[in-house]
Symmetry: C2
Subunit: 404 residues, 2 copies
């Protein structure tokens, strides 16, 4: 159980990976919310913060191709901003490909990173010009060979997700020895067996975690070389964090750890590199405003329950298991605080945000007050249900703090 | 761990609460799917089955007002069908009130059953003619008194959810002594302190579970009577099951258990009664068709993984914790089966349907085949995300098996 009593009303963003622009982002969003007073719940994204974060990563990893993981926040304005900055894109579906192309992305900037693809979706992507595909199974590889002949493929390997707040389990990736077999098979099928990818788990708080993946990638490179196959690319996946309640190491620590592992395992023969940040780019750029629907003393006399107009089915899917613990800001900050259970507005017993995690909120909080969830720009709006319990999907607003 | 090896391809609906019409419903839906071959994933509802189920319950509980829990399936055609049958409605939000009114429901047939309501939403409902409200906290009660003066209120009490596949936890309801205080307070505030509600948990497999709630309701009636307040209504909530993989007692067992408890605790002075079935009315009336995206051997060599084009974020939210285990039917039924892990199509490690629950599917199953999830008419389509990973929301089709 994490004691977060001290976090109520926290607006300090001095720790964490954020640097320039983040404090400004929050201020600009706050100003927008004050002036516009939009219907809640809603997500407000500051494109200036997205831009600053992309540039920060670009400067820190100048030789690594950045593929924004569109799933983190598919708001068209965000994608358009990243197209303008020269980003590439990691996509999960035909819908995300259409979105990127509509916002001006070049087909060759798109990596179809989902290892679970229908044959006809591969064919569609290929017709649209996409030539880079992830795989991790013989059936998917056969589908790629048939529907996207000659394309580049990279094989996702399964690595340790320790240190991640949202580990992947065993759904994706295969053992390195299977990856070797798949990549050799890809060559036989006329595909360009291009490289290896891994994912050390989203919201990864241990910069050393990439070591596992980079070491395993090198093993696959070596084993393939023994069969005369020279792989060219390592895809470092996602994992760079946003700033929730837990302290986050600075970006420099991640860069140093990744560089050290690359030096250790690849030395002078550094492969082409690709990284798939999602949460890191957009997480801290968004504030989710909610309204307090109700404050109720619980029957057991132990805790107040605070019910917000946003819940697990309105976009806060990552509160499942209380994995992601957002920092909060309220309209009563400064007043004395006491412990709360936080829950959503639906008639669903599972629509509870934080029960085990200790949150403290102002004792004066009541119906009609607002509660902001900070750093809520990633994995929120697109999870929103179409209308569970009759509540409409959450709306997203984009502002540009540099232009105000 | 439940061994469901024998359930692959099961279409037998002879056990369970279903009676006439259910086998027909499945056959009619199957015929629709064969003829129309719609894009997957999709949900097909047979309105004839909804109608049969409503009438079955109407006949079994002739003196109990049936309030369909709209959240279970808010498809307009379903609501319209139930309006025509004379059903009342349990709603969770302004959106659900609008839906019911648009489909022809009378305002007096609507019960605003969510205890978490904004003051302005209560006022809106009141303007629309709604006069029946659930409550369980002083703050909500004050909101009702202010925004819906003179309305009927019933207080939700917390009861044991043992036997439920999806228990409610402590989010809703208060202790009986608190309910007494709230109902007395409601009278002081000029409201009509009307009765008591409880919910013994959704998909309740123990017909005896209502006993807890009915006994507690009687205690509240007695305590209020001591203060000169004669309550009039007991709301028996939801809980009647649909037919998933686990055997379900017949409806007659539920009716007998409820009648016995009512006789025991209320005798000749039986109150007005209300019941809120959702899953029972629509669950077995729907079939969810999905396509096999990929079949992959897992790295650990233990299990095949079968990836469908529907997952936890496309509508199968109730597979969280593997709480609801749908019966499956495939296009390869009859072929030899082997164990599988079932997962959804997104790049999300949590998008796994069944990993601990043992499912066996045909060994011949491959990309492009279909897998039907039976009895999937409740709590599916409305949970669908607006577009997580770029996948569009699941579509619902309605047919009427009686008119074909």
């Amino acid at each position: 159980m994490t004691d977060l009593s001290a976090t109520a009303g926290v607006t300090d963003r001095s720790s964490g990976t954020g640097q320039s622009g983040d404090r400004g982002a929050t201020d600009h969003i706050q100003e927008f919310l004050r002036q516009q007073d939009p219907e809640t719940p809603c997500l407000v994204m500051d494109l200036a913060s997205v831009r600053h974060r992309y540039r920060q990563l670009r400067a820190a990893l100048p030789d690594i191709r950045i593929c924004y993981a569109v799933k983190a926040n598919p708001t068209p304005e965000v994608v358009r901003e990243l197209v303008a900055l020269g980003s590439s894109f990691d996509v999960a579906s035909p819908g995300e490909i259409d979105l990127c192309l509509a916002e001006g992305a070049a087909p060759e900037s798109i990596s179809y990173g989902n290892t679970i693809k229908k044959g006809r979706d591969i064919a569609r992507a290929y017709r649209q010009g996409v030539r880079l595909f992830a795989t991790d199974s013989p059936a998917d590889l056969a589908n790629i060979a048939e529907n996207a002949p000659g394309s580049r493929v990279f094989c996702r390997i399964l690595v340790d997700n320790k240190g991640s707040r949202t580990p992947f389990g065993r759904k994706f990736g295969c053992q390195p020895r299977t990856a070797v077999a798949l990549l050799l098979r890809a060559r036989e099928l006329g595909l360009d067996a291009y490289g290896v990818s891994f994912h050390i788990g989203s919201q990864q708080l241990d910069p050393g975690a990439w070591e596992h993946g980079i070491r395993a990638a090198r093993e696959v490179f070596d084993a393939c070389a023994q069969h005369g196959l020279q792989l060219q690319m390592v895809n470092l996946g996602g994992g760079l964090p946003a700033h929730y309640t837990q302290p986050v190491p600075p970006l420099a620590d991640y860069v140093r750890a990744i560089e050290t592992s690359l030096d250790r395992h690849f030395g002078e023969q550094r492969p082409q590199l690709l990284i798939e940040p999602g949460r890191f780019i957009v997480g801290d750029a968004g504030v989710l405003r909610s309204e307090v629907v109700l404050v109720a003393d619980a029957c057991d006399g132990e805790n107040r329950w605070v019910y917000l107009d946003i819940g697990r089915y309105g976009g806060l899917a990552e509160t499942e298991g209380e994995a992601i613990t957002y920092r909060l800001r309220t309209s009563r900050d400064g007043d004395p605080c006491g412990p709360v259970v936080l829950a959503g507005p639906t008639c669903d017993g599972d629509d509870v945000l934080y029960q085990r995690t200790k949150y403290a909120l102002p004792l004066t909080l009541r119906s009609g007050d607002w509660v902001d969830l900070l750093s809520a720009g990633a994995y929120t709006a697109s999870y929103s249900s179409v209308g569970f319990n009759g509540f409409p999907p959450m709306r997203t607003y984009c502002i540009d703090g540099d232009q105000e």
